[in-house]
Amino acid sequence: MMNTEERIKSHLKAMTSHLVAEDRLEQVMEEGRRRQIRARTVRVLGAAAVVALFVGVLNVLDTGPGGPPVATEPTPDTRPTETTVPETPPTTIPTEAAEPRGVIVAGPDGLTVLDRDGNTLLELTDAGPYSNVAWAAPDLSGGIVFQHETTPMPWEQDTVLRLAPGATEPSVVVSPPSGANIVPIGTGEGEAGQPLLYYLVDRPTDVGSVSRLTAIDLDSGETREIQSLEYEPGVSVMLDVGGPVVAFTRDGEDCRQLEFAHISDGPIDSPLSDECFPRTTMTRLSADGQSLATLPFQGTELVVRSVRTGETLWQREIPAGAFNLTAGEAGWAVQTPAETLLVSESGAWSLPPVEQGLAVPFVDLEVGYDAGLGGEDAALPCQPQEIGLPPQDLPPAVAETREQLAALAASCDYEGLAAIVEADGTTISFGAAGDPVEFWVAEGRAGRDPLAVLAALLTTTPAEDPAGYWAWPAVHVDPSNEVSWAELEPILGADTTEELRQYGEGYLGWRVGIAPDGTWGYFVAGD
């Protein structure tokens, strides 16, 4: 006779065991991705928007040439300094000629660079400086500037970092002053061709906020305030930049309207400013600021128009479902659930979809895996160690590979292990950068030395997994093996061992498998 608990348990399981919900993973991820992008777009552009209005540029734009310029030196005052603007602003916008070579993807997993054939050129996924990247852009000289969603130590939250060409680690471009936030807007070349990062310094006030649109010369470090923007209730302004041009987007009740200004020469008289765009239209300035791409939300036609004349320069059919539009060097990236389309006047290239994050076009990058490894000269993270392999009853080929792997791991022989990986087609853990050595070194530099783990695991009791591999530790095959759990405790620590045990879906920690013929099958962690 069952007691009450058993009756309830039995009843609930009987009531629900036959229930099956459809697998809607793809739809869930698509909708989640859409929300992520929307949230991010709102946050980035909108902090500018909190913003809202400004005493300067839009007023200037309203009054036409002759008003104050947009370029000012930083001053404690929130209003721009008045100076003289030439009646006919010189055309100092550089010409865009190069073609985009791929996209930089900024996302929770870090920075990834894809070429326009969709090949992964670079993955920077180190949990320290490169994980959880919220925004990135080419620095226009071969490097990448980026900002994290949650900035890791030792940097302050909202710090913008730059991975300069050839650098082995990121450096700070700008960190937030006390009590203020930094919101990066974009990169662009200044009048003299110098690479600029535009950002807002957003500082809350008693009545709202004051944001200073600032540009920093990425080469010299010199900053200058472009515009001070004061909060005005009910008015929302979004910012976009391209070259030396700033676009101000205002959403009215029925329309989205744009105004343009050159950072030194003041307002740009653009026919586009007279137009009423639907409020859901996505717009992005080109990297040189000369043209503007427009794409209705979920629309299928990307139209590129001249900022100066308003004429349509070219247009291109876009697959349905576009949910994000970004501008980078020499082109635009249109993100859809099915693909990321890299678009320029001369062509369009289909890249894999970016599930989480932003894709930004680039022309030249001189950033390599060294950025994730700390450079060739940096010390390798593995510490050679002495290990004693206890005898185990294994097939001879398995025993031989075990001894070989343990010896290589204990002596920090990355290349020796990599050679076996290449030969045996070993599955190594997810997140691998394509080359096992780079992956292991990067993991080790992050304080998680896989080679030490490998050597230690091979001292534990093995078991045969369902595929016929000999697996270490045995809990990977039989989670109820208490002897194996006990062996893991001195390796992983009691807390982690308990956490792994409680996870309930089998052992998900590091494990190594060798096939009966001695082939090194896998060395993985997680799923």
Binding site: L12, M15, T16, V28, G493
Partner: protein, 165 residues
Amino acid sequence: MTALRQATTTRLRQRQFPDFYRVHHQPVFRALAATLGDIELAKEATDEAMTRAYQRWTTVSTYDNAPGWVYRVGLNWARSRLRKQTREHLDDRPPDNPVDQPLPDPDVERALRELPLEARTLVVLRHLMDWSYEEIGAALGIPTGTAKSRLHRVMNELRQKLETK
């Protein structure tokens, strides 16, 4: 062994969302179905909660009981939905035969149906999901001791009802 501990823990938490979904979406759906007594609503709630989990995966994946977070989000979403729709079971009672199947134990079903939603939630998490008090507390945002004492009271109530029949 700090490095090793970090390695394993970090890897564990880097579990990818698709794998998490495949493992947990059916159990969460069943728990919501048992709690809400409405299969279609439970499906929608599971989808919504999983979408929110994906949207915030970087954070949610570090939670001690990420499936619990999903369950809680789904339950809250469903309750909000029910309030808006002013349905019959706004009073937190499930329909007569929520899963449209012969009842394995009609007395148990009746007793569960008479429980308020919060109490039913505790019973489902404990006896269908087999969660510990710690996991239940984390999922519902209440202290472990509170989860334990509340469940104790609910089970006493159920015991009285079922054992007197």
